[in-house]
């Protein structure tokens, strides 16, 4: 078992706590960079989708997992990011500028949504954000001159200095880079006063106030950043699906995003990535299982949502901290082998405040 002796405060502040972590993350980075060379472009495309989900997940995790504000309306931010990016591109803006503007615009919409949301918590906030996403859906269907209404709109191709970003492997690297940047930004936030203020608001609003934290400001900031990351993901998502239509951003998308952070593990950035892999690859896994199983099973309709639901229920009952929580336990098992005690986590099945209805 590893024991990290801390001799400087900086060790605690750094993103990597010890060289073992550095080694594994470098290895992971190398592996991810090599993926497009060794895999079929279909799988590379699926991986980019996972990265896009993860970027949106970073945003949602900041809001739900770290500030304790539930949102059932994140598909709306994804939609705003996607449509804004596509529209800016059709207006002839350069690709990076368009993406940045789309993300900023979504962030500002997020901050505006935060104003009424400041007065609500728990289930009421969930319903309010749900209403917001319905409103956005309606605006998209009826604002035909910009969004193309029900017909939808084609997303212009991604080009930087007339170099196309649309090939599977280039797009993969673009998404990977944005995901890495988003994760680093979120982790930076969480180790600095702004992020700690969010955590304080999540765990106790009264005592956050007593510590001099401005609730309204902190929650607005959380919505701003959360929407910003999700808007960025929306912009990339637009390229991924190529053609935008209102039915791509419904309540189902919102729920999927929320499931992603819950199944991944609330209150952890690892959880975001695990959750994104889960919701990104599960449909493929189910399709694969269908092919491999006898016709009696393979022909059952609606297999995918059923498995999805089943896994979710199992997680909520047995592992509220999600895939990340499970991973931590498995890791500890190997670290302490053969001395691991099953009771170590017996009393730790605690829920975040977000999950309780207040």
């Amino acid at each position: 078992m590893r024991f990290v002796l801390k001799t400087r405060y900086n060790q605690d502040i750094d993103l990597f706590q010890h060289n073992g972590q550095r080694f594994w993350y470098v290895l992971l980075a190398v592996a991810l960079l090599l993926v497009p060379l060794g895999f079929d472009s279909f799988y590379v495309g699926e991986m980019s989708l996972v990265f896009i989900y993860a970027i949106a997940g970073v945003g949602l995790m900041l809001l739900v997992g770290y500030t304790g504000q539930v949102s059932l309306g994140h598909a709306a931010f994804l939609a705003i990011g996607a449509y804004a990016h596509a529209w800016f591109l059709t207006q002839g803006l350069p690709w990076p500028v368009s993406l940045a503007l789309a993300s900023l615009l979504t962030a500002i919409v997020g901050a505006v949504v935060a104003i009424p949301a400041l007065r609500m918590t728990g289930i009421y906030l969930a319903v309010a954000t749900l209403a917001f996403s319905r409103i956005v859906e309606h605006v998209i269907t009826h604002w035909g001159s910009v969004t193309g209404g029900y017909r939808g709109m084609a997303v212009p191709r991604a080009e930087v200095f007339s170099v196309s970003l649309m090939s599977a492997s280039t797009f993969y690297y673009v998404c990977l880079a944005f995901l890495a940047a988003s994760l680093v930004a979120a982790l930076n936030l969480l180790r600095s006063p702004s992020g700690r203020a969010m955590i304080a608001v999540r765990d106790s609003e009264v005592s956050a106030q007593a510590m001099g934290i401005d609730l309204a400001r902190t929650k607005t900031l959380a919505f701003f950043l959360s929407a910003g990351f999700t808007g960025l993901a929306g912009g990339l998502f637009a390229h991924k699906i190529g053609y935008l239509a209102p039915d791509a951003f419904t309540i189902v998308t919102s729920i999927q995003l929320l499931l992603m952070v819950v199944v991944g593990g609330l209150g952890s950035m690892h959880g975001v990535v695990f959750g994104a892999i889960f919701i990104g690859l599960l449909p493929q896994a189910v399709a694969f299982l269908r092919d491999a199983s006898p016709p009696a099973i393979a022909e059952i309709p609606g297999l995918e949502p059923a498995i999805f639901g089943l896994i979710l229920i199992l997680f909520l009952v047995y592992e509220p901290l999600g895939i990340y929580g499970r991973w931590v336990k498995i890791r500890l098992y190997f670290q302490e082998f053969p001395l691991y005690r099953k009771a170590t986590y017996k009393r730790q099945k605690s829920y975040l405040r977000t999950e309780r209805v207040r």
Binding site: S194, R196, M211, I213, L221
Partner: protein
């Protein structure tokens, strides 16, 4: 001029007068206790000072500044820290993180700097940690530094809360029943720490407390309340023998 002055504070919830025409002064460096039977309005006074409630009438000044209408999150900036009767800690974080949140009022960095974790943010965090470690040393919390709050015993949580309040570097510290739920030994330790905080750090303390032993030993002056009204103010000995106080606690 006193450090804290309350004049004719009045607040009522519906038909209940929680606090009525309450006036008192707290001098700099003093340990000032508020006692009274349950429902006397002691915690309400704390909630008024920390601005969780708005007063219906009356004024409060702190260090010469009128804080009667100060926004709640500015109170800590002015140097008023508090603890809660039933601890209100950040449950899912370590003791260290809790104390770092206590340094929030001293932050000077903006959001954009935080996102990129510029060198200035790191320097600020190092300075925060030095201060936090001073407080940990003062209250002997070293062995709990890396533990999350939800696994800690109640007595330790109480001290972590005091520590978090001290991280604000307050001029005035409000302790809401610091000894409730502590065993006699922990209460004994608490009294030494209160003494240290008062004498070594020079922090003025207002404390709501039921343990008369602790009150008598620690306090310079005591305010006795019942039904939202002031019964008496004075030195602990006087208060203990004051006829109105005896009547409130024991009946006629």
């Amino acid at each position: 001029m006193s450090l804290f002055e309350a004049r004719d504070l009045t607040v009522s919830f519906g038909g209940i007068h929680a606090v009525r025409d309450l006036s008192f002064d707290v001098e700099e460096g003093e340990v000032f206790s508020i006692i009274g039977p349950n429902g006397a309005g002691k915690t309400t006074v704390f909630n008024l000072i920390s601005r969780f409630y708005d007063v219906d009438a009356g004024t409060m000044t702190f260090g010469g500044e009128d804080i009667t209408r100060l926004p709640v999150h500015r109170v800590a900036q002015r140097g008023i820290a508090r603890t809660f009767q039933n601890t209100e800690l950040f449950e899912h974080e370590t003791v260290l993180k809790n104390l770092l949140i206590g340094r929030h009022v001293h932050r000077r960095t903006m959001l954009a700097e935080d996102l990129f974790f510029l060198p200035r943010v790191r320097r600020q965090d190092l300075a925060f940690r030095e201060k936090v470690e001073d407080v940990i040393d003062l209250l002997d919390l070293q062995s709990y530094r890396e533990q999350t709050i939800n696994g800690l015993p109640y007595g330790v949580r109480k001290m972590v809360e005091v520590a978090r309040a001290l991280c604000i570097e307050p001029k005035l510290l409000l302790l809401d029943e610091p000894s409730s739920g502590l065993n006699p030994e922990e209460t004994e330790d608490l009294s030494f720490w209160i003494e240290d905080i008062s004498e070594d750090l020079g922090v003025t303390i207002i404390m709501v407390e039921h343990d008369m032993n602790l009150v008598t030993r620690m306090s310079d002056r005591v305010l006795a309340m019942a039904d939202g009204l002031e019964l008496a103010v004075g030195e602990p000995r006087e208060i203990q023998e004051h006829p109105a106080v005896l009547r409130a606690y024991l009946g006629d």
